[in-house]
């Protein structure tokens, strides 16, 4: 009875820990993004709430919670209220399979530092990132507004297109690691992180991930210059906040998956594994923010052209070559 209780307690503790850390990180990522973008544009960014603006996320939260929550007259009420949750939930669920440290020994028990070490972790992640489409699609459709609908249509086709190249760019990694489990993939990078063995796959994955998180230069679903705010045009208050937070949680998830798949996860010298994992994830997040401050938005046809005519063939070729080389090595 007691070992079972301890196991349950540990799992719950892990869940709460991850939940709190991811949500706080998402809130502070917003602050970091605003600060870094400010610096790029020779501004300070938010620095009024608390020292260096560290309380800004709290102020934003209070603002969003106290705003009026409006539902347009023509909106499909149920779907409209459901969609933001879908967006944030699918993003949060993905973190279940991300290992952030090697197993720990507590109370004489082997405690894996991952919520659930699925043996099909990669597929689980790909599936959830496909489900993330629903948040956008339903949000845009239920708003009953032309801008929202246009945004969600763009979002749908973009996510579906870039999922393809993202999935294909993960295949060589799976081939090399001989496992779908993310823990095994990290362990397979003991000698060298996969970024060195698979630079092309890494680049394709990075580009697809940027598109998947709907960030500049692939932010066509919201494209504030053309579509007001895209699929969340009609949302206000905390419902908008959920979309917003979901986007940043998504960014953290995708950064941590980049870390796990290509940058060697928690592996690294001297520092403890969790620290290494955090450093790598934050570095990728910083890169995303840097990209946002640097590149302009693509045109819609350029986006589709780039996805289907360049990334997908390149990823396919990469799979073929990797498979061939692995077969040749095995034969030799």
């Amino acid at each position: 009875m007691t070992p079972l209780l301890i196991t349950v307690a540990l799992v719950l503790a892990k869940l709460v820990l991850i939940f709190v850390v991811v949500l706080t990180l998402a809130a502070y990522l917003v602050l970091a993004e605003r600060k870094i973008l400010g610096r790029i544009q020779l501004r300070y960014g938010p620095n009024r709430v608390g020292p260096f603006g560290v309380m800004q996320p709290l102020a934003d939260l209070i603002k969003l919670l106290t705003k009026e929550d409006t539902v347009p007259d023509g909106a499909d009420r149920v779907l409209f209220l459901l969609a933001p949750g879908m967006a944030a939930l699918t993003a949060l669920l993905s973190f279940a399979v991300v290992p952030f440290s090697p197993p720990l020994k507590i109370f004489g028990q082997q405690l894996p530092m991952v919520v659930c070490d699925l043996n099909i972790g990669v597929l689980y992640f790909l599936g959830l990132s496909s489900l993330a489409v629903y948040g956008i699609a339903l949000g845009g459709w239920a708003s009953n507004s032309k801008y929202a609908l246009l945004g969600s249509i763009r979002g749908l086709s973009q996510l579906i297109s870039y999922e393809l190249s993202m999935g294909l760019s993960v295949v060589p990694v799976v081939l090399l690691a001989r496992s779908f489990s993310l823990t095994d993939i990290v362990l397979a990078q003991k000698s060298a992180p996969f970024i060195l063995l698979q630079p092309v796959a890494f680049l394709i994955f990075l580009v697809s991930v940027t598109a998947e998180s709907k960030r500049i230069p692939f932010d066509l679903p919201e494209a504030e210059g053309e579509l007001v705010a895209g699929f969340h045009t009609e949302y206000s208050g905390m419902r908008f906040g959920l979309f917003f937070v979901g986007e940043y949680i998504n960014m953290i998830i995708l950064s941590s998956l980049t870390t796990v798949l290509f940058l060697g996860g928690w592996l690294g010298p001297v520092l403890p594994p969790v620290i290494w994992f955090a450093i790598k994830v934050l570095a990728v997040c910083f890169f995303f923010i840097w990209v946002r401050g640097t590149l302009p938005r693509l045109r819609y046809d350029q986006l589709m052209h780039f996805g289907w005519k360049i990334l997908v063939p390149l990823a396919l070729l990469n799979v073929l070559v990797t498979g061939g080389v692995l077969l040749w090595l095995k034969g030799a």
Binding site: I36, G38, R39, I40, L42, R43, Y44, W290, T294, L295
Partner: protein
Amino acid sequence: MKLWRGIKGTIEPFAVTLRNMLRKPVTIQYPEQKRTPFPRYRARIVLTRDPDGGERCVACYLCSAACPVDCISMQAAEDENGRRYAVWFRINFSRCIFCGLCAEACPTLAIQMSPDYEICSRDPLQLVYEKEDLLIADGGKDNEYNFYRHAGIGVVNPRGGNDDEYGPVDIQSNMP
């Protein structure tokens, strides 16, 4: 070639943004740091005084006529020795567009623009400045100028008594 240009054009901006990220922001942190505007900056309007301490305004209505938004109003009067002055003088700063046309129109350099730009208020009525609020104890941009010392009217000195003036001409003796 086109591909190379594309790749270069994608990567080079990253160096630019990184360079800018490490530079000092140009922001002036307003409530703590204030910039001093240039002397001819056009902000709050003031009524100046001549070197002798008298009001310069002669209530000629040229400023209120020149004002494109009609924010200046006044009432003219004349004291016993013929000096014109404004009984009341009012500028509604919630209407003023700080164009400076009033200062340009003023023949006595009485109304001038000052660089004091911090005149906001939550109550529009507080932005209606009366003569007492507008008058300053200074000559502003041309400290030495006193209209009545050049006007040819016997206010400061008897008629024709100013430095660059001569007395009334006897028109009978001024025949060709």
